[in-house]
Structure formats: C-alpha cells, structure tokens
Amino acid sequence: MEKCYLMTAVVLLGLTVRWTVSLNSYSANLCTSCRYLLPGAGKPPMFGDYEAQRHWQEITINLPIKQWYFNGSDNNLQYWGLDYPPLTAYHSLLCAYVAKFINPDWIALHTSRGYESQAHKLFMRATVLIADLLIYIPAVVLYCCCLKEISTKKKIANALCILLYPGLILIDYGHFQYNSVSLGFALWGVLGVSYDWDLLGSLAFCLAINYKQMELYHSLPFFCFLLGKCFKKGLKGKGFVLLIKLACTVVASFILCWLPFFTEREQTLQVLRRLFPVDRGLFEDKVANIWCTFSVFLKIRDILPHHIQLMISFCFTFLSLLPACIKLTLHPSPRGFRFTLVSCALSFFLFSFQVHEKSILLVSLPVCLVLREIPFMSTWFLLVSTFSMLPLLLKDELLMPSVVTVIAFFIACATSFSIFEKTSEEELQLKSFSISVRKYFPCFTFLPRIIQHLYVGLLLPWPLPRSTGSGSAGPAAMAHGPSRSAACGIFLDRGMNPCPLHQQADSQPLCHQGSPEGHSFDSETSNLFIFIFIIT
C-alpha cells in the first residue's frame, strides 16, 4: 500500500477536527433535550447530556449493579437516570474507574452533581476521542479500504468525507454523546456481514444494540440480509447450519451483556422499561419527521389518545419498511443491504414513536456508506441532516464550529466526487423512480433540475441565524414547492402501489434499491423545509 500515508493523514485530520471542535462548549446549563423537567422553579439547571454521562459514571461506580436502573435514595431516576442498555453502563463504569484515579471528586456520590471544571471537561472529551479512535475510526478506514472497483485515491477521498461528517462530530464532540461507539459497532457489523464473516458481524451488531437501543433502527436489514443469505444457501443444508450458528451468537452475546440483570425477573423488566419509555410523547420538541411536520396542520398529539398514536406510528413504520425488507430477503446483496439500511433507518426516523432529533445520525451512518454510489443525494442528505440539528447546536453555542465543519464537509465531498457534474437521472440512480412517476404524471421530466435548484436553496439559508428566517424563506419556499409535490408522488407510489417497483426489480436489480431511498430523500428535505421555516 503506497498510499498508506495519505490514509494516515486523513485519519489524523479527522482527529484534529474532532479535538478542535471539542474545545467548544458542551450541553451545559441548558435543558437541551428537556426530557426530565423537575416540578417547580428555582431548582438548579438540569444541564445536558454531558451531565448525564457524568452522572452515570457516578451511579455505576458507587452503587451495586442491582440498583443501577432502580429508583432509590441514592439513585434519583428523575435526575438523568440510566436509560441506555447495559453496555453503556459498563462503559460508564470503566470511565468512572479512570476518573476515580485522576480525581475522586468528579464522581463522588451526590456531591458531584453538576460538577464542571476545565480538567473534567478535558477528561470527558478525551474519553469520547479514545472511544472513537478505538471503535468508529478503524471501522471507517477498514470499510473504505475494502471497497471494490475504485482507485486508492477514491477510497481515501471516501474515508475523508465519512470522517468529516459534521453531524456526528458536532453531536459527539460538541453536544457530548458517545454515538461513535454504537455507530462504530454497527459499522463493524455491516463490514462483517458484507464480507461473509457473518458471526463476527452479528456479534458486533449485538454489541451495538446493547450499547444503544436506538440501533434497533438498523436491526431489520441485518435480520433480513442474514435470513436471505441462509435462504440462498438452502434452508435444508448449509443455510440451516448458518442460521443456527447465527442464532447462537446473538443469544450468547445478549446473555453475556445482560448477565447481571438476569438474576431476577424484576431486574430485566425494569431495564426494559427504562429503555423503552412508551409513555413519552409521539415526538420530542423539534424533530424533522412526519409527525412533527404534520402537527403544524393538525395537533395529533392532543387529538388522538396515546395508544392510538402508538398504533398509527407502528403501522406506518411497518408499512414503509416492508417493501425494502422483502426485496432484501429475496435478493440479498451487500449493496442492497446498504441501501435497505438507509431506507429502514429513514422509515423509523420519519414514522416511528418517540423520535429524537439526534436519531438522524442513525440514518446518516448508512447514507455515508452509499456516499460513493450516489454522491449528490448523499451529500445533500448529510448536509440537511446536520442542518436539522441546528436548533440543538445553537443552544449549545456551536454555531461557529457547525458552519465551519459543514463547509469543510461540503468542500471535501464536492472535490472528491465532483457532485455537480453527475446530476443526470441515471447518475442519481433515480431512473426507475422517475419512470414510475411518469406513469402518473406524464409531465414529470424536470427532476434533476429541481434537485439542482433545491441544492442552492438548501445552501442559502445556512449562515443566516434563525431570526432572519423571513429573509431567507423566499427562495427556499420557492424551491420546496416542487419538492413537496414530488414527495406526494412518492407516497402514492409507495403506499398504494408497491408492485411496479418489484416488476422493475427484475429488469434493473441494482437501481431498484436506489429508488425508494431516493423518495425518502425528497420527502425528508421537503419536511425539513416546511418544518424549519414554519417553526422558525
């Protein structure tokens, strides 16, 4: 590998950007996600995810494992109670041991609440960087090195773009979270499964789920892909053996992670209750998904009873997942797998219950993986996804790093993939989609042009602060008009008539998976435009 040094340089650059972003402020002193509002005023501020992570370290090192997920005199679940799966708790414990070695005040029970200092910030930031360096970054590098049929230079460019994705950097190193751990494990899973190391892949993915339950967004494609592989090998022979092996791996890894909580039934149930708080609302304060967008016209949250909301969101999610998953089970291929990951994660994000704006990162990861195949659309989506988290980032005073990293990412993508030159329908892999749309709207021939205009419209409002929204709404509103009509076309297409897609799948197996995902892009962006400009 003669170009090894360029890859090293890219990784070092990624690390430098990460660390410089982490010098900025974090989610402190502001109730950023407003999840646990204490009753009454005059209470100390609730802090943000930074305090949550610190609090988890405090809990895990000071309390016995049985009390971690239970409310008690020492563990007030109302105050950033542990609500992630056991692996997160173990990770917190590990960090807590290091923290105890450096300065026990950081994790002292009760007294350390709201602890903030420069040294502690440095420590917390370092834990994120180390976790990232150990799990996510190697996965990205390996993924890009294993890509087939492209030059070394392209591989390196691809790695650069993925490593510079601003959303993940800003949330992990600015806002403060450990998304790179769960996403990194998921990426290891994708790698393993794609290159026929199915057992290792499924093990890695189980770890991902056990780190963050949100990874369930990715679980269906994994399941369908592996099932499809088993079918392909023949359920009576090798396929069955593989299926048994996979099942054993998954069960074993889950048991291993949950071992301390399997001692009592109540323990397990309590953890599950903490992980899936169905009693929370349909969506959180500002999410760029269907429900939030729809509630601009109709306040679903207030009109419909709670369990019906749950049912509706479940049905919609399931229906939107179905076509892609069936297709993947019948024709398993690594490429199809990646596209299904995108479309499933997006379906969850758009339709499922209790979505958080940071969940867009779960969609962004698979989109990063298809960056090479559909550069224009992916770049577009990744930029929009970062934009959708802007309110959150503004609260954390991260405007400057956001703008800078977004521009950097845009330049990286633009120079490595020359995205502006590849905007014909074929290159966007939207051919089959526009053919099927043209069946219903014969005049629908201007898709690429719309997309180009949208792109400009998307980039315009970026540097403007929210208060000047009225000024920038003009061009963007003009731009999102046609896009919304495109989105309507999509839902007609997908909801009422999934069959044409399958007919085309025979003739164009590769393009097919691109199309449902292409739809989602349009709907996603139009949602965002409607959402952002009405909310602001």
């Binding site: 360029l6 230079k153 400057m400 800078v404 990286a412 120079t415 502006f420």
Partner: protein, 526 residues
C-alpha cells in the same frame, strides 16, 4: 456559497487545499493564545488612539511597539475595522482586555491577512519547474509544495494558536522570491523592501537579496566560465533599485525623521538589553554552548574545581527574559554574536557572488543566511526557524538531497516549537498536527524521490525517531517524577539541546551541499 461550490467543483485542488486550511484555522479560534495576543491588541490601541508622534514613546503597557513603522500602519488600518467589533479593545489603558468579540476580530484578522500568503504560495507553485510530472495529482511537485506551505505546522501553531502575523509576512517574502524567480527583479526588490519595514527580523536575509540583485541583475552578462564580466555593469539598474529601496524607506521612516524621533524608533527596534537566549532556549549554537557550560559547572562542582559561592544564581531557563552569565565558559556579548553571525553568513555570500546559479542559488543563500543568523544570533526566538523552513520547502521538491535536509530541519524545527504550547487542551492538537505534517511531508517526498537513494541514512532515521520518546518523556513521564519541582527546566533543556543538534546538522549539511555543488555550467555539460 454557490460560488464556492463552482470554484471547487471543477476539481480545483489548490482552492480546496487553501479553503480547507482556512477552515481549520477557524476551528482553532477558541484555542489558547499567548501574551502576543495582548501585544497586538495593545498596538491596535496605541496606533488607533494616539497621534503618530506618541507611537514609539507610549509605554503604559510593558508590550511597547517594537516593530517598524509599516507594521504600525498595518495595525492602524486594522483598528479601523476593529472599532466595529469592540470599541473597548482600542483603549490603551485597557490592559489584558479580551472579550469574545476582540478574540474573534484578532483571530479573523490573522486568517484574513493570510490570503496574501495563499496568493504567494500560488505564485511559488507556478515558478517551480516540476522536473518530473507525476502521473497522479498527489505525486506532482506542485501539489506537494502547496501542501507543505499552506498546511505548514509551524505557521499554524505560531499564528493561529500562539498568535502572530507571520502568515502574511512570510507571504510577502515568498512573493518576492517568486518574483525573482519570474525575473521580475524590481518587483521582488520592492516587496522585500516593504517587508523589511514590516518586520526587521528579515534583515537577516537582506545580504542574500543585496548580493543577488547586484550580481545577477546589475551585471547583465557573465563570461563563459561563469565568472563576472565587469563591463556589463548597468548603472541604470543599480539606480532604479536604489531608488526603490530609498522611496520605501522614506515612506516608512520619513515621518519619524521629520519628528526627529529616529533614535527612539531604533532603540525600540533593536533592544540589545535583552539576554542571549529567549525565554525558551531556541535550538541554536548558543543552546549547545550554554548546555555545555551547565554540564561543565555541574562536573566542576562535583569535583570541587569550582567555588559554589562564586557561581551566579540566575538560572537560564527560569522562564524570564533576563541577563545571564556563563559560569565556566566565557560569557557571550552581543558583539561576539554579531561577529559569529557575519562569519557564518560570509561563505554563502561569497558563493552567491562567485558561483551564481540563478534564482535557485539565491534561494539557497537566503536559507543559509536565515539559518546562520538563527544559529548564532543574539536573543533568537525559536519561532525564527520559520524564516528558514518556509523557503526551504521550495527547494525540497526539486532535489532529493535538499528534500533530506528539509525534512530534518523542518521536523526538528517544528518540534522545538512544542514548548510554545504548554496547556493541556492544546496538547492533542499540537501532537496530531505535527504528526499530520511530518508524516505527510516525509512520505510524499519519499514517493516523489522514490527512484533515487533513500532520503535518510540510519543515523538520521534514528535521530528523527528519537523525537518520539523525547516527547513522551517530556510531556507524559517527567511531570509525574520527583524531579518536576527540583529541576522544572529539564524538559525545555532537553528539547532545545536535542533539536539544536538536528538543526546544526541540517545547517552544516546544507552548507556543505552549497559549497561543493558544481556551478550551473558544469552540470549542464554533464
């Protein structure tokens, strides 16, 4: 933004590189900044709120104005933008003032003025003759050179973390070099004259300019064997050069001459009262000299050759700029350093006069001047190594031998800048950026010269690899040992002595290569 997309969309790698590094600079805004930040804020305040007659007399702050007049005018111009950011920073009495808007303005002023540097790099890339055009973009000398200059580690940390305006000053120097390469001598001379009146440290390389312009511009022809043809001297050219230098100097110093303040200005510009070494030892000859003195004094005390009561108490590395007396070896006076510097510069000047090799020879001489004065100068800052590193980048992509010297010089020179950033949050940044730059420069130059003999011999490789353990010891091991309280200066001492060895070696090797290099005529025949 759309225009930006158009600019980069066409695979324009140069603007992508420049924009990329600009964005990195923007990310560095919240990092630590040194007292130089306050120095420049104070100068903004002085030039903005006081009449010109007070500029070089004002002494409310200890950071008095000690750069030549053009820099003062530059601060004056900046201050007219600064007032829209924060009026308070322009108050002379507002010592150590640093609001977030002040920070933003000062940082952006550095980033913005770096545009000149970017332009200069662009011009430099045009004038190097890639002797073999690589197949791929990343293997082209132009690409490598622009990365080496634009992403230079030293400039990034000195300008954008530590805080100074070296970027645009180096830009002026590179631009004038590029003009000389392009045979636009008058322009080159003008730019250098302007540069001298921005920052007088460039006086160190002035001999190279003077001799080169005299020899290769004022004399219009050579004899066939390369020696000088006396009757080809052009008075017109000499007079026009002199006129340019005179006019620029008149513009800069004229007002102060009229106010009868020249002595005061010069006393501010050349403060010989400061000590031999700067707060940190710059890795030069005097660092080795002082270290030897220290070792000898310790040995002398152990063996009872010296009387402890006679040893001066002032410790060289206590962190302040102060006078210092050597214990065993004779103490060094400013005059002695001046003589040493002149002696060190002379051979390269002779070489430039008697063995002219065109602009490339001039560039070598310029680097030797910069390095020699760095080696032997009085009160040298470790940042001054950039004066040699940046022009050396131009040479490095031309010849394997130069590339080898460049890599040793750059790596050790950059490492010696590490003590500038001593705060914990910046530790990862300096290590990551240093690794990024070093790995890139070594690997890319190795790829460029892969068909020639290896760039390093075993000794050089061993020396460069030794920087790693040194860093680990200084930053990660030493603070946890019991020596930290007793001998706090050990990391600094180790760093500067270790780097001094490398820089002396690079200086020596470059000198040897310049002196033994056959003249142009001969190489052409071969």
């Amino acid at each position: 933004m759309a225009a930006l997309g158009v600019a980069t969309g066409g695979g324009n790698w140069f603007s992508a590189l420049a924009l990329g590094v600009t964005l990195l600079k923007c990310l560095l805004i919240p990092t630590y900044h040194s007292t130089d930040f306050e120095v420049h804020r104070n100068w903004l305040a002085i030039t903005h709120s006081l009449p010109i007659s007070q500029w070089y007399y004002e002494a409310t702050s200890e950071w008095t104005l000690d750069y030549p007049p053009f820099f003062a005018w530059f601060e004056y111009a900046l201050s007219h933008v600064a007032k829209y950011f924060d009026q308070e920073m322009l108050n002379v009495r507002n010592l150590n003032y640093c609001s977030s808007r002040t920070l933003l303005f000062q940082r952006f002023s550095v980033i913005f003025t770096d545009t000149l540097f970017v332009y200069a790099v662009h011009e430099c890339c045009k004038c190097i003759d890639g002797k073999k055009a690589g197949r791929e973009l990343t293997e082209k000398p132009k690409f490598i050179l622009s990365v080496l200059l634009l992403w230079n580690f030293g400039l990034l940390i000195v300008d954008h973390i530590h805080f100074q305006y070296n970027g645009f000053l180096s830009g002026l120097m590179l631009l004038s070099i590029a003009r000389l390469f392009q045979k636009r001598h008058m322009e080159g001379a003008f730019l250098f004259a302007v540069l001298l009146h921005f920052k007088h440290i460039y006086l160190y390389v002035a001999p190279a300019y003077g001799v080169y312009l005299l020899r290769s511009y004022c004399f219009t022809a050579n004899k066939p064997d390369g020696s000088i043809r006396w009757n080809s001297f052009s008075f017109l050219r000499l007079i026009s050069l002199g006129l340019i230098v005179f006019l620029v100097s008149a513009l800069s110093l004229g007002p102060f001459l009229a106010l009868n303040q020249l002595p005061q200005v010069f006393s501010r510009l050349f403060p010989f009262k400061r000590g031999l070494c700067h707060a940190y030892w710059a890795p030069n000859f005097w660092a080795l000299y002082s270290a030897l003195d220290k070792v000898l004094s310790v040995i002398g005390l152990e063996l009872k050759f010296l009387d402890p009561s006679k040893i001066p108490k002032a410790s060289m590395t206590s962190g302040l700029v102060q006078q210092f007396q050597h214990t065993v070896l004779p103490s060094v006076t400013p005059l002695a350093t001046l003589i040493c510097t002149l002696i060190a510069i002379l051979p390269s000047i002779f070489c430039l006069w008697f063995k002219p090799q065109g602009p490339r020879g001039f560039l070598r001489c310029l680097i030797l001047c910069a390095l020699s004065s760095f080696m032997f100068g009085w009160h040298v800052h470790e940042k001054a190594i950039l004066l040699a590193v940046l022009p050396m980048s131009l040479l490095s992509v031309g010849k394997a031998g130069d590339a080898s010297i460049f890599l040793i010089l750059t790596t050790t020179g950059h490492y010696s800048l590490f003590p500038l950033l001593f705060t914990a949050p910046e530790l990862p940044i300096k290590i990551l950026l240093m690794l990024l730059f070093t790995i890139y420069s070594i690997s890319s130059l190795k790829t460029l010269f892969r068909k020639e003999k290896p760039l390093f011999n075993w000794m050089e490789t061993f020396y460069l690899l030794g920087l790693g353990p040194l860093e680990v010891f200084c930053e990660f091991v030493f603070p946890f040992t019991s020596w930290k309280l007793k001998y706090p200066f050990i990391p600094l001492l180790l760093t500067s002595v270790y780097c001094a060895v490398g820089i002396t070696y690079a200086w020596f090797k470059l000198y040897v290569s310049v002196l033994t290099d056959p003249p142009v005529g001969k190489t052409k025949k071969q």
